[in-house]
C-alpha cells in the first residue's frame, strides 16, 4: 500500500517535472543553455576544474550528474528556480544566491517566471557585513614552528579600512577534532576531512594568530571594485552551506580562496596555476602577480611588540624580574625613571596575559593582578608609540620548490630536488630566520659511471629559535628519511633533538644534541652533538659553518666540519659552495661541492 502511494507520488512529481521542463524550455532555449553552460564563470561558480566540480557535497547539485556535467547542472538549477515557489530562507534563491543571481543576470527574462523570495536573513547578514573592501591576509610563520612557515591565508571583508578590528575573516578549513598527528596527516593528505568556508570577526583571528601563536600578519588589500566584491560575497553566502573534501597539499585553505577571487573578477586565471600543491605563500604571489593587490600592511606579532615595549629595560635586571614575577611588588620599580616604570608595567601585563593564555594561571588569580598592573600603569600617562621595523616581506623570499645540480671534487655529480621549502643553505630574506623545513628532498648521485639514490629526506625540520631577554624558546629538530651510512648502504633513519640558539635575526649560533635511530635489517643508534653559526648579511649573501660529532653505540664516531657560502642572484637562483671535512673512525675525507640552486 505504502509502496503504491510512493509510486503515485513519484509519478505525480514526475509529471510535474516534465511539465516544467517543457515550460522552461519554452522561455529558455536549448541554445542559450548550451552556450551559458560553457561560460567560464558558470564553471567557476561550480568550482569546476579538470572535468568535475571540486565540491563533494551532493546537496550542492540539483542535477544527479551535476558534479561532472555543468550543462545538466545549469538546466536543473534553472528548473529549480522556476519550480520553487517558497518564500523562506531555504528557497533556492536565498540558499543558492550566487548561481541564482548569475543565472538571472544572464537570462533576465527568467525574472518574470520565478517567484523572487524576500531572503530577509540573507539581506540582514549582507547589510551587517557591509562589504566595501576585501583584504587577503597572510599569517606567516609561528615562532619556533618552521612547519608554519608555509603560512596560512584567509580573506578579510572590510567595511571601513581604518577599523580592521570590526572586519570579518573568511576562512577555509578542514573540519576536525582529531588530535592524533598520524591520523590527522593521513586523513588530511587523502581527503578524509570536510573543508568548509567560515566567517567570524577578524579580531578573533588576530587573537589566535598574532597574540597566541606569535605570528606576523601581512594584510594585502585587493584591487576589486564594488561589483566584484558583491559577487564574491554572494558566492561565500552560497558555498558556506556545502563541503568539499579537504586535501592538505592542493585543495587546501589558500587554494580555495583563489576560487573566491576568481569568481569576483570573472576573468583571472588563478586556480589553474595550482595542480598538485598549493602553498599559501605561492598563492599569495600568484594573486600579486595578477595585479590584484593594491597595498600591503604589516602587523607585527605580539612577540615583537613585547620586545619593543621592553627595549628601555632590556638590560635592567630589576625591571625584568619585576615583570616576570608573580607577586608584582611595585616598590621594586619605585625609584626607576618614568620610562622604565612604564616599560616594566606594560611588559608585566603582556607576560601575564601570555601566562593566562597558556593556562599557567587561573582566571581567579589572573584578573586581580591584571587590573592592579593596568591601574598603576594608567597613572603614568602616554609614551610615544614604539615603532616596530617591517621585516622583509614573505613574498620576496626565494620560490618554494628547489632543484639543484652539484659537482663534487671527487668527480661525482649530484642532482637534488625537493617539493619545499627552505633549508640552511638558502638565503633567509623573506623567511623567519632559523626556521628550516624540507619536504621530500631527494638526492641522486652519479659517480664512477654508476647512478644511485644517495639520500631521501621525507621531512627535515630545524627550528633554531633565538633566545632573547624575555623569551627563551628551546630549539629543536626532527628528520625522517633514508641515507647512505655504514659501508655506504641505504639506511632509514629518524632523528629528533633539541638545543639552544643565541644571537640576532641575521647572525646567530646554535648548539643541539640529536639522538638518531637507523634501520636496515637491524637497528643502530647514535647521539650527535652539533654546533654552528649562520650569518645572513644581505638578500644576496649567506655564510655558515657547522660542526658535529656523532657517537654510535658500537663506539664508532663520525666528526664533520662544514663551512659554506651561498650567493643568491634573485628569487629563482643561487650558487652555493661548501667544503666538507669528515673523520670516520680516524679515516679522513674532505671534498668541496659547488651547487647551482634553482627555485621554482
Amino acid at each position: 500500500m505504502i509502496i503504491a502511494v510512493k509510486k503515485a507520488v513519484q509519478l505525480f512529481f514526475g509529471l510535474l517535472l516534465f511539465q516544467t521542463s517543457l515550460f522552461s524550455s519554452s522561455s529558455v532555449s536549448e541554445n542559450i543553455i548550451d552556450k551559458l553552460s560553457q561560460n567560464k564563470q558558470w564553471h567557476r561558480l561550480l568550482h569546476f576544474k579538470n572535468g568535475k566540480s571540486e565540491i563533494d557535497d551532493k546537496k550542492f547539485f540539483f542535477a544527479k550528474n551535476g558534479k561532472t556535467d555543468p550543462k545538466a547542472e545549469l538546466k536543473a538549477s534553472i528548473k529549480e528556480l522556476i519550480l520553487d515557489k517558497s518564500d523562506d530562507e531555504n528557497s533556492t534563491l536565498c540558499h543558492y544566491p550566487s548561481r541564482s543571481t548569475w543565472i538571472l543576470e544572464q537570462i533576465p527574462i527568467l525574472k518574470k517566471e520565478i517567484k523572487i523570495p524576500k531572503c530577509k536573513a540573507l539581506k540582514k547578514e549582507l547589510k551587517d557585513l557591509g562589504a566595501k573592501y576585501v583584504t587577503l591576509i597572510l599569517a606567516s610563520a609561528h615562532i619556533n614552528s618552521p612547519a608554519s612557515a608555509f603560512g596560512h591565508t584567509f580573506l578579510r571583508i572590510d567595511n571601513n579600512p581604518n577599523t580592521p578590528l570590526l572586519s570579518y575573516a573568511v576562512n577555509y578549513a578542514a573540519q576536525t577534532r582529531e588530535d592524533n598527528g598520524f591520523i590527522y596527516a593521513y586523513q588530511g593528505l587523502f581527503g578524509g576531512y570536510k573543508g568548509r568556508y567560515s566567517i567570524e570577526p577578524y579580531y578573533k583571528k588576530l587573537k589566535e594568530y598574532s597574540d597566541l601563536e606569535q605570528r606576523d600578519i601581512w594584510e594585502y588589500t585587493l584591487n576589486l571594485n564594488q561589483e566584484q566584491i558583491d559577487r564574491m560575497v554572494l558566492h561565500i553566502f552560497e558555498i558556506r552551506h556545502f563541503y568539499a573534501d579537504y586535501f592538505f597539499l592542493n585543495e587546501n585553505c589558500s587554494y580555495n580562496l583563489l576560487w573566491l577571487i576568481e569568481i569576483a573578477t570573472q576573468k583571472s586565471n588563478l586556480v589553474n596555476q595550482f595542480k598538485f600543491k598549493a602553498i599559501p605563500i605561492d598563492t599569495l604571489r600568484t594573486v600579486i602577480n595578477n595585479g590584484l593587490v593594491k597595498k600591503s600592511i604589516y602587523r607585527s606579532s605580539k612577540r615583537k611588540e613585547i620586545l619593543a615595549i621592553s627595549e628601555p629595560i632590556k638590560n635592567n635586571k630589576k625591571a625584568l624580574d619585576f615583570a616576570q614575577s608573580s607577586d608584582y611588588n611595585f616598590s621594586k620599580i619605585e625609584n626607576m625613571t618614568k620610562e622604565e616604570k612604564i616599560a616594566s608595567l606594560e611588559l608585566a601585563t603582556s607576560l601575564l596575559k601570555i601566562k593566562y593564555s597558556n593556562n599557567k594561571i587561573s582566571k581567579k588569580k589572573y584578573l586581580p593582578k591584571f587590573l592592579k598592573i593596568l591601574g598603576t600603569r594608567s597613572k603614568l600617562g602616554k609614551v610615544a608609540k614604539r615603532e616596530i621595523p617591517t621585516p622583509s616581506s614573505p613574498k620576496d623570499g626565494h620560490l618554494s620548490s628547489k632543484a639543484s645540480i652539484a659537482y663534487i671534487t671527487d668527480k661525482a655529480v649530484k642532482a637534488k630536488a625537493k617539493i619545499a621549502y627552505h633549508d640552511i643553505y638558502d638565503n633567509d630574506n623573506g623567511f623567519i630566520s632559523g626556521a628550516y623545513i624540507s619536504f621530500f628532498d631527494t638526492t641522486i648521485e652519479y659517480k664512477n659511471s654508476d647512478i644511485f639514490l644517495e639520500e631521501i629526506d621525507f621531512l627535515d625540520i630545524k627550528s633554531y629559535a633565538i633566545q632573547d631577554s624575555i623569551f627563551k624558546p628551546i630549539s629543536w629538530q626532527v628528520a625522517l628519511g633514508a641515507k647512505r651510512i655504514f659501508n655506504n648502504e641505504l639506511n632509514s633513519y629518524l632523528t629528533a633533538g633539541a638545543g639552544v640558539t643565541l644571537g640576532k635575526d641575521n647572525f646567530y649560533g646554535f648548539a643541539t644534541i640529536t639522538p638518531t635511530v637507523y634501520y636496515r635489517e637491524t637497528t643502530k643508534s647514535s647521539i650527535s652533538g652539533n654546533i654552528g653559526i649562520f650569518y645572513n648579511p644581505s638578500k644576496y649573501l649567506k655564510f655558515g659553518i657547522s660542526s658535529s660529532n656523532e657517537w654510535f653505540e658500537n663506539s664508532k664516531e663520525i666528526k664533520k666540519i662544514e663551512p659554506f657560502i651561498t650567493y643568491s642572484f634573485d628569487k629563482k637562483s643561487a650558487i652555493n659552495i661548501r667544503y666538507e671535512y669528515k673523520d670516520i673512525d680516524k679515516i679522513k675525507e674532505n671534498d668541496t661541492t659547488i651547487s647551482w640552486f634553482w627555485y621554482f
Binding site: L165, N180, G181, Y203, C253, S254, N358, T516
Partner: protein, 146 residues
C-alpha cells in the same frame, strides 16, 4: 643505549606545543586559551595547513548574549566589540593608546580621539571598577565620563 635513544627520540617528538581553544564570556579574562598538544600533531597541523575546529559562520561574535548597557543601547556594534575585546581594551585604556581604543572611539563617533584616550586613561579605575565588571558596565562607565 639503543632503548634510551629511542625513548629520547620519541619524547622529543611528543613534547608539547599548543593549539587554540576559546574561553568566552562577557567580562574580563574571556580569551583564547591554548591547549597542550604534541609537536607531532603541531608539525602535521602546520605543514598541512589545516585548521581544526568546528565550522563557525557568524556575522556576530558570539557575544551578543551579553547584557546591554543602560545608557548606550542603540549601538549594538560597540557593545559587541567591547564584549569581545575586554582585555585588549582594558590594556589600551591603561596605556592611553592602541588599536582597540581607536576602534571604540570610531564606533562611538568620537571626534578627538587623543583627548578621548587621555580622558579614559585618567579614569581607568572608574571604568574598570572591579574584576567582575561586565562589558555593559564598561560602556556605561565610559559614557558617564561625558
Amino acid at each position: 643505549m639503543r632503548k634510551i635513544l629511542s625513548i629520547l627520540t620519541t619524547t622529543a617528538l611528543l613534547t608539547t606545543a599548543s593549539i587554540a581553544n576559546e574561553n568566552t564570556g562577557c567580562g574580563l579574562g574571556s580569551q583564547i586559551i591554548s591547549n597542550q598538544d604534541s609537536v607531532l600533531m603541531q608539525i602535521f597541523a602546520a605543514t598541512t595547513n589545516g585548521t581544526s575546529g568546528n565550522q563557525t559562520f557568524g556575522i556576530t561574535s558570539g557575544t551578543s548574549g551579553c547584557a546591554k548597557p543602560a545608557k548606550f543601547v542603540s549601538n549594538d556594534r560597540a557593545n559587541e566589540f567591547v564584549a569581545g575585546n575586554m582585555d585588549a581594551l582594558a590594556k589600551d585604556i591603561s596605556n592611553g593608546q592602541g588599536e582597540a581604543l581607536t576602534t571604540l572611539a570610531t564606533l562611538l563617533n568620537v571626534s578627538n580621539k587623543d583627548v578621548f584616550a587621555s580622558k579614559l586613561q585618567a579614569n581607568f579605575d572608574k571604568i574598570y571598577t572591579s574584576e567582575n565588571v561586565s562589558s555593559a558596565e564598561v560602556i556605561d562607565n565610559i559614557v558617564s565620563l561625558g
